[in-house]
């Protein structure tokens, strides 16, 4: 809501994390968000709360205490099995009105990116997407949110001075969780979900889960990506082998996806996913701008290409000149 005076502002206190739930299990990104929330709360001497929405009691909610939470607010309702954006938004808005958190963090996952903006608009507060850094402004006490725009070409620092709570989403893999301390204790609060006619908005008919995507791109620490140079679906088997050896995920350029060698979920770039991984190995990807904007924020970029002069080979930290069909099998043997 819009804040008109300091007294109103001071009523908002805690730092909240909206837990990322996957079939009633707490997704690991929740612990990363908790790490960020803990640091913010320590700075402002406030507490960390976690909101858990689920269809049945989650396993080990007390783990959340070990990872930095002071309180866990659990809402269970059989209807909360699949992801019902509208319903979850209504529940969380009611909780925000009741408890008045100062900051609310959510995951910039497909779910968070649907849910959190709906909450922010209805709760009348600002929201900054995909933050890479969060801090507190020394003078005002406001949250300082740093986010990349234009595919990582510019960093914007954003503040929301006159609205509370201040909301932000963070991509998986960007924040660090704290070392868990299983002796930490906290409070569990159960809240009821009053579901008016919410469920009428949406009915989930079925949920298809693809095993192949079990390691997802936004979370992988290493991505092996292939382009037109991979030449076909069999080429991607080679990349999968390397991914399996390194614990990584397989990505692709649009040219490879459009050729039907690998499904769209793997596409990285302007019209695919944006990733910020530890190590990005581009195999036979020339590195057109639309691809680069989706991966250039990765910490270490390695390119394997026959042509030493492609944009990707120029931007890479390590550029390997050669035939990927010879280098990758050799690399698989070396690791």
């Amino acid at each position: 809501m819009r804040i008109t005076n300091l007294n109103e502002k001071l009523q908002y206190e805690d730092v909240w994390v909206v837990a990322e739930m996957l079939l009633d299990k707490i997704h690991p990104v929740t612990y990363e968000l908790l790490g960020a929330a803990r640091a913010l709360a320590d700075y402002g001497a406030s507490r960390v709360g976690v909101i858990v929405l689920c269809s049945k009691e989650p396993e080990n909610p007390t783990d959340l205490f070990a990872f930095g939470a002071d309180k866990v607010i659990i809402v269970t309702n059989p209807q909360l099995k699949g992801f019902l954006d509208e319903t979850e938004a209504e529940i969380i808005i009611r909780l925000i009105e009741k408890y008045k958190p100062e900051i609310v963090l959510g995951a910039a996952s497909s779910r968070g990116r649907a849910l959190i903006p709906r909450i922010a608009v209805k709760a009348n507060c600002g929201l900054t997407a995909d933050c890479t850094e969060l801090g507190i402004d020394f003078e005002s006490g406001d949250l300082l949110q740093t986010r990349p725009a234009f595919g990582g070409n510019i960093m914007a620092i954003i503040r929301s001075p006159n609205h509370r709570p201040q909301m932000a989403t963070v991509r998986p893999g960007v924040m660090k969780s704290i070392t868990p301390d299983y002796s930490r204790k906290g409070e569990i609060i159960y809240e009821k979900a009053k579901l008016n006619n919410q469920a009428a908005f949406k009915r989930i008919i079925e949920s298809i889960t693809k095993e192949e995507n079990a390691v997802n791109l936004t979370q992988a620490q290493i991505i092996i990506a292939g382009g037109r140079g991979v030449k076909g679906a069999e080429g991607f088997d080679l990349l999968r082998e390397l991914a399996a050896k390194t614990g990584g995920a397989v990505g692709a350029s649009r040219a490879a996806v459009d050729s039907g060698w690998i499904p769209y979920e793997h596409q990285i770039g302007q019209t695919g996913q944006t990733v910020q991984t530890g190590t990005y190995i581009a195999c036979g990807i020339s590195g057109q701008i639309q691809h680069l904007v989706g991966m250039q924020s990765s910490a270490l970029i390695i390119a394997i290409d026959k042509n030493p002069d492609t944009p990707m080979m120029q931007m890479a930290d390590i550029a390997v000149v050669g035939d990927l069909f010879e280098i990758i099998p050799a690399l698989v043997r070396e690791i």
């Binding site: 779910r111 070409n153 050896k245 614990g247 769209y264 639309q290 680069l292 390997v320």
Partner: protein
């Protein structure tokens, strides 16, 4: 059925160059084009129109030159276009933008379906679609990869997740945002081009859509950009590895170990 498609004009990245020093894209002097995701939104609307009959209205908030994108959509088969343009709209964040667009959708009236792109490639937020749904209290489905069927009351869509997809029935009116996988946009016909040259595009100002002046523009936006700065440059010098495949692989494996890249190995 009445469908509104929201289109944003964004700088074209196609001709962008990389700055050799910072290894970042040079943004200056880029042409303005339709946000690539919005082309899929337009295409999906036209397909629905062809399949079950609909009126397709395209809207954009932006400077007067954003008309160009709207004309492009008309050349592809949209029936009408409206531009939301006024000094007072300037500086709107996603909250205010989705407010303005929702007020325009209210003014259009009787809208069954709003289609947005997954995200705009300049801001990259993906917040405006769900924001519009929230302002209007419409149902929503984001990252839609397929529209399976539509009837008077519902739309059945496949919505993408990280590890698969959900098939859901959404009550109309609704907002959906679409990913690239959903279709293959067509190219305009000559007839379409002529229609788009001739069409009159009204410009709506805050008073036309009864927008609360306190909720739009810079002052109406909850978020403020305090400053912008270039990201940390990729200042590492490129290390080039050449030689026999075995030699290359050996050196690369060693680098990977040094960088701790394969600590997550599941071997």
């Amino acid at each position: 059925m009445k469908i509104v498609v929201c289109i944003k004009q964004v700088p074209a990245t196609n001709e962008a160059k990389i700055d050799p020093l910072t290894k970042r894209i040079v943004r200056e002097g880029l042409k303005a084009v339709m946000n690539p995701f919005d082309a899929y939104a337009v295409e999906e609307a036209i397909r629905l129109k062809e399949k079950c009959g609909a009126e397709v209205i395209v809207i954009s908030m932006g400077p007067e030159k954003a008309q160009r994108c709207l004309r492009e959509a008309v050349s592809l088969g949209a029936d009408r276009a409206v531009l939301l343009s006024d000094r007072a709209f300037g500086g709107s964040d996603t909250w205010a933008t989705s407010y303005v667009l929702s007020k325009a959708i209210e003014k259009i009236g009787q809208v069954d379906l709003v289609i947005c792109g997954k995200q705009a490639v300049d801001g990259d937020t993906a917040q405006v679609g769900p924001g519009i749904a929230a302002h209007l209290d419409f149902a929503q489905a984001t990252f839609v990869m397929k529209v399976e069927k539509v009837d008077r009351r519902h739309i059945r869509v496949q919505r993408m997740r990280e590890n698969g997809y959900d098939v859901c029935d959404i009550k109309l009116p609704a907002v959906i945002t679409v990913v690239k996988d959903i279709n293959m946009p067509r190219v305009p016909t000559l007839k379409g081009r002529l229609a788009s040259d001739e069409i009159d595009i009204p410009i709506w100002r805050p008073e036309d859509i009864k927008a609360d002046i306190e909720k739009i523009g810079l002052d109406g936006s909850p978020t403020r950009v305090v400053k912008t700065q270039p990201p940390k440059a990729r200042s590492r010098k490129t290390i080039r590895i050449e030689g026999s495949p075995q030699e290359c692989a050996k050196q690369l494996a060693q680098r990977l170990r040094e960088e701790d890249s394969i600590s997550g190995a599941n071997i």
